[in-house]
Subunit: 452 residues, 2 copies
């Protein structure tokens, strides 16, 4: 009988596990250890706090501490787990005040999340240079913005957070340079999409430098002098370093868990680790990919929620399986949304498919009705079986880019053939779509196009 559940981590996966366990069995004691003072905050919301669009950081809480406690969850704030002993089913914790405790559990959920990767840049520890991942990080950046009113910022890394921060700082009137080591911005989408996005960034005044590796940041007077290869040299007032995250797994190792891909915790589809009674979920674990049918490392809030919910069910004896990620992602940058789901051409090839990928442009709704917007699709399918493998869309965010990529995600979930997309009875009215929706026109284009 499971009477006490201990959850380490208070972000998406942890809170989802805690809430689900309490929902299914209110009698079970659920305790959540939170390393800082901010349980269940929207880390994805940090750029919008720093842009000024979200005025009060308290709004970023998905739920308040009071709401979490009202659900019957015991929350220990500022409490860091430092050791797991599976033999004695106990966890040693340190609190901020210095106290050390040992807490026992019947079932444990590790949801320690991820931390920013710190690239090897000389001078990265200087004042004015920030990583950005936690609430504390964002308070530091916020304080710097208010105190120093920087006019020029440099962002290292053109991934989701880097580009959202380019938007956010531009919104505040700061002149922004984005530097990316890869050949295009947002390397999680294909280069044709990345090049469209680069132009959109430039139209909004962002200076974009790709194929450049930053190696040094030096203080020069009140400014920061940033240098990189090849031939990059810039004086700015603020540097953000956002080049990705890595799983936080020191604690998991104390439990005897051997780490897997990119240092993440291996779990089965029930979110159980190799250690009996110990589950793990969220940005610290390897994630099952539904199309690849194997583990990958893909830390996302949506996945953390789903995995946490499943862990919360299975710690109580359930046997729910994680359906798997499809790699669905969307980001809004200035006026555009850029979204993807499934596999890209080279990912599909690496997975043994014989992919065909096409680019297609059409209107979001009937062009005769005012306000029609151009959507750019990139569709990947298997040329031998006709199975849909992936889709990327870029266009004005009001044109339902995100929900249109979700239609492809639904199709991928069901392993649909591209052809069968044309069978689905989707909605139509001239101001909002076409008799064949844009996603169906893109599918039809894929069918009709021979890329050889």
């Amino acid at each position: 009988m499971v009477s006490s559940i201990l959850i380490i981590g208070g972000s998406d996966a942890g809170i989802s596990a805690a809430l689900r366990a309490k929902e299914l069995d209110p009698a079970t004691a659920v305790t959540m250890l939170v390393a800082d003072a901010y349980p269940n905050y929207s880390i994805c919301g940090l750029p919008f706090y720093l842009s000024g669009e979200v005025e009060d950081w308290h709004q970023l809480a998905h739920r308040t501490l009071e709401e979490i406690q009202a659900a019957g969850i015991r929350v220990a704030l500022n409490t860091r787990a430092v050791e797991i002993s599976p033999q004695s089913q106990a966890v040693v914790t340190h609190s901020h005040e210095g106290g050390t405790r040992t807490q026992t559990y019947d079932r444990l959920v590790i949801a320690t999340g991820a931390q920013p990767v710190q690239p090897s840049i000389l001078g990265i520890d200087q004042p004015g240079v920030f990583l950005l991942h936690s609430m504390d990080d964002s308070f530091k950046v916020s304080a710097f913005l208010q105190l120093h009113e920087p006019r020029r910022a440099l962002i290292v890394g053109a991934g989701y957070i880097g580009l959202e921060m380019a938007d956010a700082l531009t919104h505040r009137g700061v002149a922004v340079t984005v530097v990316e080591q890869q050949r295009t911005v947002l390397p999680t989408v294909d280069e044709t999409m990345g090049e469209s996005l680069r132009r959109h960034l430039e139209e909004h005044g962002v200076d974009v430098r790709t194929g450049v590796k930053i190696y040094q940041i030096e203080q020069t007077g009140k400014a920061l002098h940033v240098t990189g290869n090849p031939e990059f040299d810039r004086e700015v007032d603020l540097v953000l370093v956002v080049v990705g995250v890595e799983p936080v797994t020191d604690l998991a190792q104390t439990a005897g868990i051997e780490l897997g891909m990119r240092g993440a915790i291996p779990v089965d589809r029930m979110m159980a680790t190799t250690v009996p009674g110990v589950y793990a979920a969220g940005d610290c674990v390897e994630t099952y990919h539904r199309l690849l049918d194997r583990a990958t490392y893909l830390p996302l809030g949506t996945t953390a929620h789903k995995q946490g919910r499943i862990a919360g069910e299975n710690v109580l004896g359930g046997s729910r399986q994680f359906a798997g990620t499809l790699g669905t992602q969307v980001v809004k940058i200035f006026d555009w949304a850029i979204a993807r789901t499934g596999l890209r051409d080279q990912e599909a090839k690496a997975a043994g498919y014989v992919p065909k990928t096409v680019d297609f442009v059409t209107w979001d709704h009937k062009a005769y009705y005012p306000g029609a917007q151009e959507l750019r699709f990139r569709i990947t399918g298997d040329s031998q079986t006709g199975q849909l493998l992936g889709a990327q869309i870029i266009g004005p965010w009001q044109a339902s880019v995100a929900k249109r990529v979700d239609l492809f995600a639904m199709a991928l979930y069901h392993q649909m053939m591209v052809r069968d997309l044309l069978e689905v009875d989707l909605s139509y009215t001239p101001p909002l779509g076409s008799p064949w929706d844009a996603v169906q026109m893109a599918a039809d284009y894929w069918l009709r196009t021979d890329t050889h």
Copy 2:
């Protein structure tokens, strides 16, 4: 060997059949008989032409005559088919100029569409009273609007076209009264949704009268005096009667086809009629419903396109089956979109399910990001199996109402369980969604709610 295909009708189903046949076999002769001069016009676009939002009616053409002809399709305009003789595989036609011809075919597609229902209202044939379905109808209304500049309009029927015309005429500065015989507006959605929409119409100055049956229209001076039951009495300058459509099937009957439900042409899922060599598609046929697994009458442009495409494939010897309608529909009225897919509670009950239907309200995206909009969901599922049966959504059209209902349509196509909606990896970024998208929150609410 099929060497000549004759298609009767130049709207959605007819043109889709013609294009598909030509795409698959450019060598086959495809002739399309069009009763008027307007092949492939967007009938769904008429309200936006009459509102003034579409300035030139030519823009309503999905394709121009030249584009259709460039695809290799022979188009006979102003040519009405009056008799089909399956024995001799021939069709007798009358042209506007009075000529009578006989044209033979190897395969025939009947795509004669629908016509407006003319309710029994005294004085419906008077000047200033209009039905609205064809390009010709809309030219008459347009001419009346320009010539007489009516200040007050009355619309009989609060279905899709009636409400779009309420919006369109309000847009032109005309004071609009909408009269509906049913208890709420838009009877194709449930009453709770209809009541929300009624308030939205009223907020935009539309006078809405439900539960009223119009029985008489009289000329009084320059105005029209409209009376109805109970106690309805109004003087206006223009009356539109838009109470639905019925299939046009006189011609089909000359081929010996016995009509089915609501006078529509029975077809199998290959769009073949009971007469060898004769296919039919679009608003004139009975439509296979994927959830009910039987025929229904549900004339929609989206369905007409799909059925036409299938007929165009099968006249060449194909064996493609129509996947079935899900009853997916959306309409934009002022600032809102109202969408539905699948079965409503009473429809599900009539079909033998034990439905549970819940109402749920949430934000379209994280409330901390500016501009979050409220979406109202109504979800129907089978309480015994957990299968999703239907969904209705109402909310601001920018909040991806249409594409969110399409996510439910995708789920219905795959006969998903409500529970499994939570498994799908949908996209998330705070300005455009939530870690669990609103459609998933609605599904979760259905799961957690006991309506008994």
